[in-house]
């Protein structure tokens, strides 16, 4: 059984063909939408590029928007490695964010060195446990995790709706908690952007996930289950145990997106604050080929799209929703690798 090839192929040019082809194709289709609005695609895309990478402040803004996507993308990718489709990152990040907020607004007398780590870990733990439920249902009863993670998203929305409008509703009228104590804040790095120390946490997460997946026995087992569950079981690896573990880690990592948004960006839990971060995380994982390095670059790309899209909205007639359309098409194209592989050689011949 040890002969099973578990080494991830390196990021060779062949492996990059589909992701890059998908992005290019999505941008091409996006330019049709730009033409419909009556703008010049080259100009609009130039604005998008300049406004997302053109200055230190723009780069900081891009990284800030990339940070939560690194977490959700990495979380989704981790589950994919075990053959599980975690479509519940959105719910996990709400639960994690809410628990971090609750810890953040309580315990005002703790020193920051203790308060912040507790808030972060409690959020992770909550997200991990939230994801454990569909993991257990899959491992023990064979229920497809896709449906259960979708269902649990909605339970998470309504649960946090309840908490943020009820027991933990802050002093202001808006549906949000009070500000967390300064001891639980992820500090801003490059004001006026909202980039915060969460980005370091994201990089640590990327490295840790890489090490866990490729340098530990646990990671080997998780990937073995992902490649072929029956072969793994035959080889003495517990499929059930590794599935639950993979979901817990996936949920814990994804929930850090919520923790970062609450403790670093907003300073409080705001009802339904996430602009589909969990779902875009699926795109990040797919585009990044479920590898931490790929996830990082994919998250930066999507962060840049979001930053640049907002600027494009201000400076041209193109609505910011264009980038949402482009993101959706990237997901579709990256998954339709057969289509991309067929298109690219044809273009070379011409």
């Amino acid at each position: 059984m040890r002969n099973v090839e578990l080494q991830q192929r390196s990021l060779t040019s062949r492996n990059l063909l589909v992701p890059i082809g998908s992005v290019v194709l999505a941008l091409l289709v996006g330019s049709i939408f730009i033409l419909v609005v009556g703008e010049n695609p080259l100009y609009a895309y130039r604005v998008l590029l300049v406004e997302s990478f053109g200055s230190i402040n723009n780069i900081a803004g891009t990284l800030q928007r990339s940070t939560p996507l690194i977490f959700t993308g990495l979380g989704v990718a981790f589950a994919f490695r075990c053959g599980l489709f975690n479509i519940g990152a959105e719910g996990q990040l709400y639960v994690g964010g809410m628990v971090a907020a609750i810890i953040g607004v309580s315990f005002g007398n703790l020193p920051g060195l203790i308060h912040l780590p507790i808030a972060v870990f409690a959020g992770m733990l909550a997200g991990g446990l939230w994801a454990a439920i569909p993991g257990i249902l899959k491992a023990k009863l064979g229920v497809h995790e896709v449906i259960n993670t979708i269902m649990m998203n909605f339970v998470a929305y309504y649960l946090t709706d309840f908490l943020v409008t009820g027991p933990f509703h802050g002093g202001r009228w808006a549906p949000e908690t009070d500000r967390v104590f300064p001891t639980a804040v992820l500090e801003r790095i490059l004001p006026p952007s909202r980039l915060n120390t969460g980005i370091f946490l994201a990089i640590v997460a990327l490295v840790v996930v890489y090490i866990v997946l490729w340098k530990t026995k646990t990671g080997y087992e998780i990937r073995a289950v992902g490649l072929n569950p029956s072969a793994a079981e035959y080889g003495g690896i517990s499929v059930a145990r590794n599935m639950v573990l993979a979901m817990v880690i996936s949920g814990a990592v994804a929930s850090l997106a919520g923790v970062e948004q609450v403790l670093g960006v907003h300073g409080r839990f705001i009802q339904r604050f996430s602009p589909d971060l969990g779902f875009i995380g699926i795109a990040v994982a797919l585009l990044g080929k479920n590898h931490p390095v790929g996830v990082f670059f994919a998250a930066v790309l999507f962060g840049a799209l979001r930053t640049g899209g907002a600027a494009m909205d201000r400076l041209t007639d193109v609505p910011r929703e264009l980038v949402v359309i482009i993101q959706a098409m990237i997901i579709m194209f990256v998954a339709a690798d057969e289509l991309i592989r067929r298109l690219v050689p044809r273009r070379r011949k011409a």
Partner: protein
């Protein structure tokens, strides 16, 4: 008296509201059944509904005829269904990934169009809507008449659709073939059924029906489109389909149950039961049903697997 409480929560007014709330779920869950019975998972129902809600409004805006708008919603939903079919059947894109992409796309596309056409971000201008009708004899029947006698024609259309889908699936040869394709595509292929064509048609129909469900919201129940107005109903429809064990009447029952939860949430809030917990119920019940605690819900056998001809 406890009896007064029951009457407060379960009366003709609430049940009529439950039926109205259930209508978009009925359309989308029927669509879900057709798609999944053919073996294609459709979590893109939400995006198909949203597209239908928008296009129904848009066509009504230009034609001033909500019935034409309804047809526009049907067709546009069908087009989104076609995209899902091409992706999953032709290019073997993971069905969940394709559905996710469709949901994200629809959320962006509808607001993009809203801003491009009307230059507004939140809600469209008001359009004509399909007016409610009073059914002559039905409305005179006590209680039943109060629930069913005075509703939107689209509500009746939903109820007729349930019967039609049931008859189609279980009493026609085409329905039998569709189910065969979803259970044993290889065997179906062997006896000469065109698996690809069956799946294409089922998924296109699925999108068309979800589109109608969305249009009910924008041009029958209300008379405008709002950003994200389906608000997760595509997923509740998915839940209703599962809770109803992939059968039309089962999904109808589940849709009405979930519609009822939606209709009583405000009244429950008044007596101190937080409405958010009521809103959670459809999702929790579905998880419980899938886990097999209330009669196991089992999906069609070959669901999620792309078919390859040998």
């Amino acid at each position: 008296m406890w009896w007064e409480y029951v009457v407060y929560f379960v009366n003709a007014t609430v049940l009529a509201a439950a039926l109205r709330m259930a209508t978009p779920l009925i359309f989308a869950s029927m669509g879900g059944i057709l798609s999944e019975r053919s073996g294609i998972i459709n979590i893109g129902l939400e995006g198909m509904m949203l597209t239908g809600a928008f296009m129904g409004m848009l066509v009504t805006f230009y034609t001033a005829n909500p019935w034409v708008g309804l047809i526009g919603a049907l067709l546009s939903g069908g087009v989104v269904g076609l995209v899902h079919a091409v992706a999953t059947v032709r290019y073997k894109v993971d069905q969940v990934v394709s559905g996710t992409a469709i949901n994200i796309f629809a959320g962006g596309f509808t607001v993009f169009m809203l801003r491009t056409v009307f230059d507004v971000a939140g809600t469209s201008p008001a359009v004509e809507r399909i007016p409610t009708v009073a059914v002559p004899l039905l409305r005179r029947i006590p209680f039943i008449g109060d629930i069913l006698g005075h509703q939107n024609p689209v509500v009746y259309l939903a109820l007729i659709l349930v019967v039609a889908v049931h008859l189609f699936l279980f009493h026609t040869v085409w329905g039998l073939r569709l189910r065969a394709v979803g259970e044993h595509p290889r065997a179906a292929d062997t006896v000469g059924i065109n698996v690809f064509r069956a799946r294409y048609l089922a998924v296109i129909a699925s999108g068309a029906l979800a589109g109608l469900g969305g249009a009910y919201l924008s041009i029958a129940h209300l008379s405008r489109f709002g950003d994200g107005m389906t608000a997760g109903r595509g997923f509740i429809a998915l839940a209703a389909m599962i809770f109803g064990k992939w059968t039309p009447f089962g999904a109808l029952g589940a849709s009405i149950l979930f519609g009822f939860a939606d209709a009583v949430q405000m009244r429950l809030q008044e007596v101190g039961i937080p409405r958010h917990f009521v809103l959670m119920l459809p999702y929790i019940l579905t998880m419980v049903a899938l886990a097999g605690f209330i009669g196991r819900a089992t999906p069609p056998k070959s669901i999620g697997k792309p078919y390859e001809k040998e």
